[in-house]
């Protein structure tokens, strides 16, 4: 859970977004929103997976 929280914060931290932004500017601007939604979905999947994992453990 801790790892996931750090990962989630990192994925949406401004410096990383700025880097992605820079890349996106070079390769097509829509990449930034695509990245954001993809990362978002990834986090949701990871939370879901972690939660079901926790449930097993309990």
């Amino acid at each position: 859970m801790m790892v996931l929280a750090i990962l989630a914060v990192a994925l949406f931290s401004y410096p990383l977004l700025a880097i992605i932004d820079g890349i996106a500017r070079a390769h097509g601007h829509w990449w930034l929103p695509v990245y954001m939604f993809t990362a978002w979905a990834l986090i949701i999947l990871l939370i879901g997976w972690t939660m079901s994992h926790r449930q097993d453990r309990a």
Partner: protein
Amino acid sequence: MLPVWLVAVASFIYLGTLFAVASFGDRRADAGRSVIGNPVVYTLSLAVYCSAWTYYGSVGVAATTGLAFLPIYLGPTLAALLFPFLLLKVLRITKTYGITSIADFLAARYGKSGLVGGLVTVVAAVGGIPYISLQLKAVAASVTVVMGDATPFAPAFSLGADTALTVTLVLAIFAIFFGARHVDVTETHQGMVLAIAFESVVKLLAFVVAGSFITYGIFDGFGDIAGRAMADERVRELFTMSGTGLSYIDWFLLTMLSGMMMLVLPRQFQVAVLENVDENHLRTASWLFPAYLLVINVFVMPVALAGLLLDGGEEGVNAADLLILRLPMDAGQEILALVTYLGGLSAATAMVIVATVALSTMVSNDLVLPVLLRRGGRHRGSHGDAGERPALTGLILNIRRATILVLLMAGYLFFKHVSGGLGLASTGLIAFAAVAQFAPAIIAAIYWRDANRTGAVLGISGGFLIWLYTLICPMLARAGAIDDGFLVEGLFGVGMLRPEALFALEGLNPVSHALVWSLSLNLLLLVTASLLGRQDNIERVQALMFVEVESSHETARLWHGQARVGDLCDLMIRFIGPGGVNRVLDIDGQRRGRRLGARDTADAEFVLLVERQLARVIGSSSARVMVASVVDGEGIGPDQVMEILDETSQVIEYSQRLEQKSKALEAATAELREANARLTELDGLKDEFIATVSHELRTPLTSIRSFSEILLDTPELPEEERSAFLAIVVRESERLTRLINDVLDLSKIEAGRMDWQMAEIDLREVIDEALDAASALFTEGGIAVETRLRLSRASIVGDRDRLVQLIVNLLANAVKFVPGENGRVCVELFDHANGWYEVRVDDNGPGVPRDFRRAIFEKFRQASEGPKERPKGTGLGLTISRHIVEAFGGRIWVETSDLGGASFRFTLRHMPAAGHSGETEPRAAE
């Protein structure tokens, strides 16, 4: 363009449906078949987060500042990671202590403080006004759009006052009917939760349908929109970070702010915490809720871009806010527009319903009632007293209704006169920033035990004032309500105090700016005041109960004050008794090497020991308060003690009942143990008896078998030896027979199956017969027999044969013990007093040792006077004799005879017909 009647009818049908759903939920809850006991319904109810702001406002943000709408949803996603920790703890505290609102939560934590509750209520209500205003504005604007006014807000809010006011009043009436149906706030509003979940489905479907139509109907999918957007330099900028207009700090603060909202927003607290029926739902919600947010946001960018591409994006944020509705309208899809409108209506009504329920509960319970009832610091315990007074029900309902009306009217006035020019999202963020002031106090409430009331009050009010100054005042100034000179020059002309660039902090989004200052001041005040100040006792108890809600309260805490040992002991005596107090003093004495006296000053360790002892009886929190009442400098009012005692008396009563029960159990256990011991003993006796009988049987058998085999195997045996051996075999056989007879007799007698042949007999004759039977023994041993039968006739009722057996037994017994030479036996019969005969069989043997006189009548207990002398006999004779005497009501015992040996004596009752009367058995002279 849709006719007014259609919009109105559709709206009312929709609102009616909500009522139906809610009452269905309530009925199911009453029937005990709750429909909200489902993690999906719970998650959908959390989606009340997505109000008209999301529904209309996100598009507006996206159309002007691109991805800036996202932090509002990323924040909750990150916060969802904390659901199983933070929210779970809040949930447990709330359930454990019967909390009814976020104000109640903070008030309870900070010493059941009415001040805290009232302050939180005021802040939440004031902060809620902009939020409600944006819903009203959105609904009013959407009504205008579907009715065909293409420029609802242009140039400076030209919407007919009638429409907006109508919307406000309709929503107010709806909320009053919907939200204030029940009085008891400790009950969950199951119907409401179901309706909210239903609304979440409606708004999601409506938004997705409209978004899909715009993306795939008007345009040719995501790619098409993106491609066309890329072609436009200005629109393309919206894809980038710089397009958001947000700095790093803005981005971070907005994400954090919206994450906090999951907990501190009164309506989120309502659905996420108060209406939660099963804490396991948090698990599902922690991923399903972010997923809901994701889905409802997928079409935000495309719709915004589509609007810009079609309209040229000239109209500013107010127009962009309604793109999701306007695009279908412009495309002539009026039915779709109506559906979209209903989706927006559902988003707004959901927010209004929950927000007003939450706020009106807070206003009535935490603001108005405490004042009305003059209940001061003890306005509400965990018992929900407010709801328990029937006389107050009507009053409470009216307070709530009035609150709802006032809130909505305030919202109306706010958007009409203050925030008309602001986008929906900006208005919402202002509301966020207000309630964000609760966050430090809440986090501290559950994790920091030293956080105190002063800190919470100062923190929240300080932050709130900054919020007013940095966000609301500028708005009011711009709206012309107050002089706007201070915006540019700073308050009192001090440039450092410019509200939108406080202390020269510039370059931030206004909300971020307000957040930085308000939260910093808030935290600073909370921490400083908590570290410097002290908690009173109620507060300390509550703090402990909140922070330690999931564990036992056994925590070491040093007491600041001073107390005398005697006072503490007096306190303890009332709960654990003098014995308990002595034990405590002993324990303490052992540790410190010296027993404290009553006049000694108690140190912290001793106080803690006392507290723990008391905690075992009355629970830790009460113990803490009781001890505090004695420790100087830990002042506590008499009413507080009374309150605690009221609560603890129940606990004490309960523990007393428990104690009684455990005593009864102990007694039963002891009885059982005793019975078991008796059984074991009996079992052992039986075992011993069998072993002894076995031995007694095997011994003669051994001789018989041995000699028989010897005789068989030794034909050459001399005649003399042969007959000697045969004689042994015969004697042992007789012995065996006697033994078997005795054992059979005994077991018959003991089992009560002896067949007594009762008849009138003469005891003299019995004695004569016994002497005859035993004469061979006397002759054989050369024993002189004497008889002294002083009666001519002694009639009794008994079994002749058994009595003969009895006397023969006694004679045989005497024969065994008399010396080999000059053995003497004397039989005596005389009339005892009171209708009893007594028979004595005396001998001149060694006698029976005094200690042994009772035991010889027991089975196999033979008196042997020397190691070499083993009396012959079965060891059962005297036992059988005793049973026979007792069967006829007599008594048998042994004394020292005149001849120097043993004197066996027994008594038998005269035959009643003989005229003798005797009821009591004579006592033998000892």
